[in-house]
Assembly symmetry: none
Homo-oligomer: 224 residues x 2
Amino acid sequence: MKILIIEDEKELVNSMAQFLRQESYVCEIAYSEREANEKIMLFDYDCILLDINLPDGNGLKVLEKLKNSNKTDGVIIITARNSVDDRVKGLNMGADDYLSKPFHLTELSARVSAVIRRKRFDGNNALVFNEITIDLLGKVVKVKDTTVDLTRREYDLLIFLVANKNRVVSKNAIAEHVSGDNAELLDKFDFLYSHMKNLKKKLAEAGSDDYIKTVYGLGYKFST
Amino acid sequence: MKILIIEDEKELVNSMAQFLRQESYVCEIAYSEREANEKIMLFDYDCILLDINLPDGNGLKVLEKLKNSNKTDGVIIITARNSVDDRVKGLNMGADDYLSKPFHLTELSARVSAVIRRKRFDGNNALVFNEITIDLLGKVVKVKDTTVDLTRREYDLLIFLVANKNRVVSKNAIAEHVSGDNAELLDKFDFLYSHMKNLKKKLAEAGSDDYIKTVYGLGYKFST
DNA sequence: TATCCTGCACGTCTAATACAATTGTAAGTT
DNA sequence: AACTTACAATTGTATTAGACGTGCAGGATA
């Protein structure tokens, strides 16, 4: 899962990013409205953390732009202690949640997780595809009652595919979403092939059908 | 175990929190309805102590909100001396227990413990996982009749893992729940590693199987 | 005082990625 | 059609960063 943090206080950003990465999110950072707009137009994020008070503009403009495009990113606005006004405006403009400073990082993490579940998985805590069960909260994948021990990357991969089920997802999209590597992605899919192989293998060994289809030249598709 | 105290009399709050911390609970405090609502929505608590008479609103509203969301936190309402009415209303709205002022701190502690057992452990006073037995009342852990002497932190750790059995709990979550420390530093997991090591060692020495699995990069999981 | 908590330094080991070799697919060419 | 060619994708192996375990010691706690 990929998160964009739009916030200019570097110290705060760093601790946020560090904490969320520890929770296995992929984090990117924008320090200004300009940067934020660029990133938002270029990439998809599962959740955007938006500080309303930016140095070079109003954070609400970022939100407006986002909502005018047809992006589905979840948005949590971050407001100063008592600016109820901004908070209300933000929620009216389609933000999914808010958080007022100062906040605990665990609060942040909990909210992010909730927004993502709401946006990507209809608010479900668990997903079921015939014999496959995924406990999103416990991060446990099962095939007919036998637990499949997945590594972090394998789990991320599966979740991303499932979040886009019945649609083909490109390798670029996967790579970016799972590893967040901004290095030139040209032909850098080796790691993806590896994880994909291991994921498929583990699922197959546990007795699952092949729901992950490779679409030659395009990417992969999780279909039911 | 984590408790939220919603109460505006600072002196009372302090003695409650101090006492409960000595009983090795992690305590947080909300002095108003607003604060309470924020915290409740953000965090999971094992038990919430709710004073009905708050300065900025009616405590019953907090309860209502809590029960309308699908949170599982246990609730003990605290009422003034003779307000039978509030007490009845509260219980009807799904509170788990009540306590009328003034009360002994030992009674408070006992009720908290009871509510937590009911909520988190189906009302059991003891948990059994094959050869492991945990006496929640006596805080005694046994492996096949031999008592395992755990320190406070080790015990807390075990209980937290057990309360989330068969799910992966992140190190962040553990640290928060067990120590309540919000210091956000790079090496903040060292103490966790230490306690985890000692806990595992003691259980193993007593002849227990390895129910605590480390999920590399994600956290730990107690699985049966 | 004795026990326990927590930070530090160092060692170990897992899993993530890079690298290399093989197989599979879909075009074009004759 | 059969063959060729250019990649796409799979698979196995090697390397390495970083997550985790461990022993120890000073300091807190009770």
